[in-house]
Symmetry: D2
Subunit: 239 residues, 4 copies
């Protein structure tokens, strides 16, 4: 499968502590375990022309992974439009953590999905599987315990997810719909909550397993061809 | 209830035949039967400053009805943004017929909802109730038969509706999800398919009944107050 | 509105501590605040002939509330069938707490909804509103904090709820889909998790508010009449 | 994949015309094209002990296909219970045509799914794809045209399908939700409308393709293990 991993790549360059966790950026960490899983991975960042998301790259991408936080506004609207069009065509997406506030995720949701509660206090998060038959939940047992994560709390302004896979518990008393599938056009999008830049979440094997499951799940093998626009009657009739 | 009816108001001014059906515009026809039903109605068109959708009007609107077709691109993006923000806050919307291709409906769907099959051939449409307990379906029996309508056929590029109320049958062999509720932010949107400008659909009593039901259904009486942004822990915990 | 409250009424008679909390039974406590809210309330228990759910009572009930725990098997199958048939016709239901394992709720779910995690340890529960525009969530703020409740934890074997209103957090680390609407036939069912017999949950004003909201929400004012069985063609056609 | 095909096998034995279409029964016709597609197929009928659905067979079945009509009441309740339990565990099901009124399908729906409109008049049916990215819709183009079928018309008393894949158009003016996925417990069920015994629907290549797609889709490769019942706290807390 051809996977493109977009990461704004700002925190990891500007903060020594975060650089310590992801020396080559979050994108490289994700690319590594997905490559080891047999996928063909490209990456793109704000340092690349067109964020690394050129027409050629997008046309050749089965699944696009998205991590962004402080640089959402630096992604040009034309690129957001191109990504959106590819999702409509059937490209899968995995939107990670603070990507909930990216232009592309809000556009796909049709809501202000940037709004939620948060607290960056290295607290315990437990993600519970609420759909044990879902392909994204396989191989991790019934929960994922992260000793230190940023908290995201409800209410999260998303439309009703087509499928809800995980709900998170936080030590400070909040809950969150942490693993949500949305279908838009011919594309599937999986939003996955964990992954704050200051904690080593993407080094966690269960988190890696979820992402490996998710890219398979959101990939479309084929799309039934549809006709749009003016059409002749399918059956004869007379007025 | 305070209802604002937006209609681009182009066909009815430029085409004598259509003017014959809706002499004062589709918006006036809709305003008439909703006023008779006891609602306080305003209208707005492309002829009005800011399409009649000023901040004051939108802030004072419980439900916004939308009809547009050839002038979707003439609605300024800033107005679309304002309408969208009011839906997020809880304003209801009823989007009619070719409004499926409006900027606001596509933005709320998160898809290219403008795409579908169509044929303007005055053919029979039968709308079947598929959710008899739904408030929008009350008072019309089990179907609505329209002798002459434009055809819209699947595939219609919408996300899974939160509620599906009507499915249409067309003489030429096509079907369509004709009555769909979408929830976005705190707002409810009802998309209702019939209403081509060249046929007297909005004079049909059953169609009027559906619209009267729909404005009640999408109106929100109250919204539970939510906190967003940084929050202190809800319960004490220690690391 | 005509409300019937079924409670098996076993714990409150057999356990002095529980009797102290609900001297006349959980059903009487609920009947009291719903009567004060203007509703016409009947109650039924295992002590009554036909559990108090005779044909006459069911036919005259808009909304049926259900609390049961240790006596699910004592409810005759014929009564379950009658309740089911009334839900199909449009009677609303509110299923409380351990009612998740009642014959009627499992029959309406189409799953083994009796299965879940539990722990009876008087621990803190926080119910978070995840749909602030939902009528059932009005008037309680953004959460309900119960200092002592039994824990129910995911995975809860229910079908995807038509609407998810509350998610619970528990001190011991679990989460639960605590407020769920299911539509079955012409009936709406609201499952609401809190309400263990050994804690004074139904004396809590916010919990009372949710139940008051819920009975209004699941009540159907009217149902569109449908034809079933053999029908003549709606339109003429020839082979 | 291990597939078991249950067919009551009554019409094909008692009616010469129907025997002409399916000389060895509908089950044999389906088994033939699924075997050719590489699957391991067993069949069961009312003539077999326990309908061919013994504990051993069910335990060894990935996907169960169900066709029944006049003999629904002849299937013992204990067998229905066993099939239901296997669906909860994760066995897939494909329910065909008049199987909508089987005990097992109604039990899984939680509604009186036997109710619908019907007319047996050899009229044209067109099944339209309404979810072109769905795996069940691949390889058949945008519709399936059946020159002669029995009509089933809405309202069909099913819960909101988790996924809606096909909507049917009928010459006589009706529509029907013809391809519906329901998730129950760990199992997926696909209901597929066409397949009246008096027309050669299961000889149609597109229909065969849908069934081949469906068995793959409803098969579960693995299920995340869940704990149910009493549990110790996941995190420590003190009262």
């Amino acid at each position: 499968m051809k996977i493109t991993i977009y990461n704004e790549y700002l925190h990891e360059k500007h903060d020594e502590y975060i650089k310590g966790i992801y020396p080559d950026g979050i994108h490289s960490c994700i690319a590594k375990f997905l490559t080891e899983a047999g996928h063909e991975c490209r990456t793109g960042t704000l340092d690349d022309p067109e964020c690394g998301l050129t027409d050629e790259v997008l046309a050749d991408t089965d699944v696009l992974i998205w991590w962004g936080h402080m640089g959402h506004h630096l992604v040009p609207d034309e690129i957001v439009e191109k990504v959106y069009n590819r999702v409509m065509e059937g490209m899968g997406m995995v939107v990670l953590h603070s990507g909930h506030n990216s232009k592309i995720f809000r556009k796909l949701c049709g809501t202000n999905a940037g709004e939620l509660k948060w607290r960056d206090d290295d607290e315990k998060e437990i993600l519970w599987v609420v759909d044990p038959a879902h392909p994204i939940a396989q191989g991790i047992g019934e929960n994922i315990i992260l000793e230190q994560e940023e908290m995201y709390g409800e209410h999260f302004i998303i439309p009703t997810p087509d499928e809800l896979v995980f709900i998170s518990w936080f030590a400070g008393g909040e809950v969150f719909r942490s693993g949500c599938v949305f279908k838009r056009g011919n594309g599937k999008i999986f939003y996955f909550r964990p992954g704050h830049e200051s904690v080593p979440t993407y080094h966690n094997e269960k988190i890696q397993q979820v992402i490996k499951n998710a890219v398979k799940y959101v990939k479309n093998d084929s799309i039934a061809p549809m006709t749009y626009g003016y059409v002749e009657p399918t059956v004869e009739w007379k007025k």
